[in-house]
């Protein structure tokens, strides 16, 4: 056994095997995440198909400029995340920390703006529940649209929060020089998670913000 290799857990043969296991593990986890959000996407598709008018009216109430802004911020954060990993690949410690901090800042921006949007919707009485106030026709199904809106974006925001927490840990590790060109699997795996959260948003954006634009 090569117990003397730094960072090698006792039950793996070599670092290659350990890293491959980590990467596969994260991908397997992301597949479960796809199915987790998938339940919501399925329900959304069913109701959107059954009540297109109510869903378009609901979507019309969302601010498309905000939606576009979120998208740009998240795509930007994916870029900076990729650059942080690249910095680890080429062994530049300060750049790693810099890009990770940028990523977290972008993520935080997203969450803060989202918070304001929630507050706005709440003030407008669009929070599903007994106080739901809807002026337009077909209030029941507009309520279902907003239920999906809050459930999907809320769950997404929760994932971002967890992601920022993970990146914070990675940031500390990076600052201590834990990631080298040959050993930065932890950072890479965290990156996979962060990108996944971005991919979810890429689908949420048109479904929630864009279906009610035309007409």
């Amino acid at each position: 056994m090569q117990a003397d290799v730094p960072g090698l857990a006792h039950h793996f043969e070599d670092l290659e095997q350990q890293h491959e296991a980590g990467r596969l593990g994260m991908w397997a986890f992301l597949v479960t995440e796809v199915m987790f959000f998938g339940g919501l996407f399925t329900g959304f598709t069913i109701y959107w198909n059954a009540y297109p008018d109510a869903f378009r009216a609901g979507s019309h109430h969302l601010d498309v400029r905000l939606g576009t802004l979120y998208t740009a911020v998240l795509i930007g954060s994916s870029l900076t995340m990729a650059l942080a990993i690249r910095a680890a690949q080429v062994g530049r410690r300060r750049a790693q920390v810099g890009w990770l901090v940028t990523t977290m800042l972008l993520g935080t921006t997203f969450l803060v703006v989202k918070g304001f949007e929630y507050q706005h919707k709440w003030a407008d009485g669009l929070l599903p529940g007994p106080g739901f106030a809807w002026e337009g026709p077909d209030a029941p199904h507009a309520r279902i649209f907003f239920s999906f809106y809050f459930a999907m974006t809320g769950l997404h925001a929760l994932h971002m929060l967890i992601g920022i927490g993970v990146l914070l840990t990675m940031c500390v590790k990076a600052a201590r020089g834990a990631f080298t060109p040959s050993h930065h699997a932890g950072l890479e795996i965290s990156g996979l998670y962060w990108h996944f959260v971005d991919v979810v948003w890429i689908f949420l954006f048109p479904l929630l913000y864009l279906i009610g634009r035309h007409g």
């Binding site: 006792h10 039950h11 593990g25 987790f36 309520r143």
Partner: protein
């Protein structure tokens, strides 16, 4: 214990060494203790139900109590015994050993999964203590979301949390089997138990998150009336059934696939033969795991689902029966020209063959649209799934526990008593559940606290059988515990079995293998005589 070489049990004794262990074998023991506890909790509920059903009037407990009993019976035994049972106990212990690894890929996640499991269990027990839940384990809306005034959210949360332990176990197995096989251990040299665990892991990963989000939406519906499942404000309760069964039908295969894996190991060992049609048995596990996701709508033929969707789900359900049939035929063919010894594990395995065959065949009755109209939601369904889950899974689980008991604890169980218990379980099981097929066709609906008088004879027969079955389950509990101290010491390989797990001492050392084994032969190379191949 003085002259025993160091192994995973005697290496350390403190509480901490168990509760903070990262050793997959110790975590398996932790799981063994917890699921045994839940087995008897769930079994206790069943005993009360069978006593209640002795008379038509419903005079032992109140209707409310009875409804809570069958709900908690289903919930506890499905989420806290059947689903984690074989994977988290035997799988945890055996997967690394069978593939020649020193541990699972993520030992910390493995321990975490046990803690998550215990947390989910405590939530559920809290809900039981606080008054229980009466929705049926299926949580159908709008009863669960609006009308039931029991602890739906607490129990739902229990199931939700436990789901994550299942996901972590599946993830761990999947990665371990992919990346950590010993040199020379190619896919087609793997024991069939590993194939079965692999297929199970796929379902755990792909299905469990869907039940998680469904329970989450149910809780939100109950708390805030979000309307998604609530018909009184425009939602559709049938959507809940779709999402629920998308997981809960494949969940049946989470239970039965590992059981099938055990059967392959036991039959090969005690017929001293390679499993007939190894590749077909291996691939049928994958086929079941994948096809199993296409059939959930057969629980909903009468739910208001479209007739055409019913057609699609019906034909797909027949297709998923085929790989199970293939397995049964292959196991039977394995016995041909074997050298068979009827040890306790083998008795359980042969019992499994018979009971699983009946359970599987009666599944055809339910997949058939026109007949399902009559038997749906009757005791026919109850009998069918108990033949699969008790006659199949629990028989295989007990067989596996006996088979690997000497490996896990280094002691032999008393063979004679064990054979007696296996026969008692088999007889008791059939007496309990066969009458329920007849009851179902007669029209007795499930979840009935009181029933009309003409159903009484069959119910009494069933309850009588249940008392025999209960006795049969208590016996192993007693003699297995007894054997821990007083059983004969087992050697490294008391069955003279093949497979890497038998190449280590019993009980195995913490690191499993002092030197990573190199595999040079196929699984089950029992050194059969070369003979003219017949058939």
């Amino acid at each position: 214990m003085t002259n025993t070489p160091e192994n995973y049990i005697n290496t350390d004794f403190g509480w901490k060494s168990w509760l903070l262990t990262l050793d997959h074998k110790r975590i398996a023991i932790l799981y063994l203790l917890s699921i045994s506890f839940f087995f008897f909790v769930g079994g206790f509920f069943a005993v009360l139900m069978r006593i209640e059903l002795l008379t038509p009037q419903g005079d032992l407990v109140q209707a409310e109590t009875y409804n809570k009993l069958f709900t908690m019976h289903g919930l506890v035994l499905i989420f806290f015994f059947l689903i984690p049972g074989i994977p988290a106990v035997l799988g945890n212990f055996l997967v690394p050993m069978m593939i020649g690894a020193r541990d699972l890929a993520f030992p910390r996640l493995n321990l975490l999964s046990w803690y998550i499991f215990v947390t989910g269990g405590l939530f559920t027990l809290y809900a039981v203590a606080a008054g229980g839940v009466d929705t049926g384990w299926t949580f159908y809306t709008p009863y669960s979301s609006t009308y039931s005034n029991t602890h739906v959210i607490a129990v739902g949360l229990g199931a939700f949390i436990t789901g994550f332990s299942s996901i972590l176990t599946g993830l761990n197995f999947l990665v371990t089997i992919h990346t950590m096989r010993a040199p020379g251990l190619s896919w087609f040299r793997l024991p069939l138990f590993i194939w079965a665990q692999y297929a199970t892991s796929l379902i755990m990963l792909l299905g469990t998150p869907v039940i998680a989000i469904t329970i989450l939406l149910l809780a939100l519906e109950r708390l805030f009336r979000i309307g998604i499942f609530d018909p009184s404000i425009g939602g559709d309760p049938v959507l809940f059934q779709h999402l629920f069964w998308f997981y809960s039908h494949p969940a049946v295969y989470i239970m039965i696939l590992p059981a099938m894996g055990i059967i392959s190991e036991i039959i090969a060992c005690f017929a001293r033969k390679r499993v007939f049609g190894y590749r077909f048995v291996a691939f049928s596990s994958l086929a079941i795991a994948i096809l199993g996701f296409f059939v959930w709508g057969h629980h909903m033929f009468l739910s208001g689902q479209s007739v055409y969707a019913g057609l699609v789900f019906s034909i797909l359900s027949f297709l998923v029966a085929i790989p199970s049939a293939v397995k049964v035929f292959n196991w039977t063919a394995t016995l041909y020209k074997g050298s068979i010894s009827l040890t306790t594990p083998m008795l359980y395995a042969l019992g499994f063959l018979g009971l699983f065959t009946i359970g599987g065949l009666t599944g055809l009755f339910l997949a058939s649209l026109g007949l399902d109209v009559h038997v749906h939601d009757t005791y026919f369904v109850v009998a069918h799934f108990h033949y699969i889950m008790v006659g199949g899974v629990v028989m295989a689980y007990l067989g596996g526990i006996h088979f690997w008991w000497p490996k896990i604890f280094g002691r032999m169980y008393p063979e004679f008593v064990a054979r007696f218990a296996a026969i008692v379980v088999f007889i008791g099981f059939n007496l309990t559940f066969f009458p329920q097929f007849l009851l179902g066709y007669l029209g007795m609906p499930r979840r009935y606290h009181a029933y009309v008088e003409e159903f009484q004879v069959l119910n009494v027969m069933s309850s009588a059988g249940a008392s025999i079955l209960g006795f049969g389950y208590l016996l192993p509990m007693i003699y297995l515990v007894w054997s821990l101290r007083s059983g004969k010491r087992a050697g490294a390989n008391p069955w003279d079995a093949k497979g890497l797990e038998w190449q280590t001492p019993s009980p195995p050392p913490t690191t499993n293998f002092a030197v990573t084994p190199v595999v040079t032969e196929e699984a089950y190379a029992y050194g059969e005589e070369e003979a003219a191949v017949a058939g």
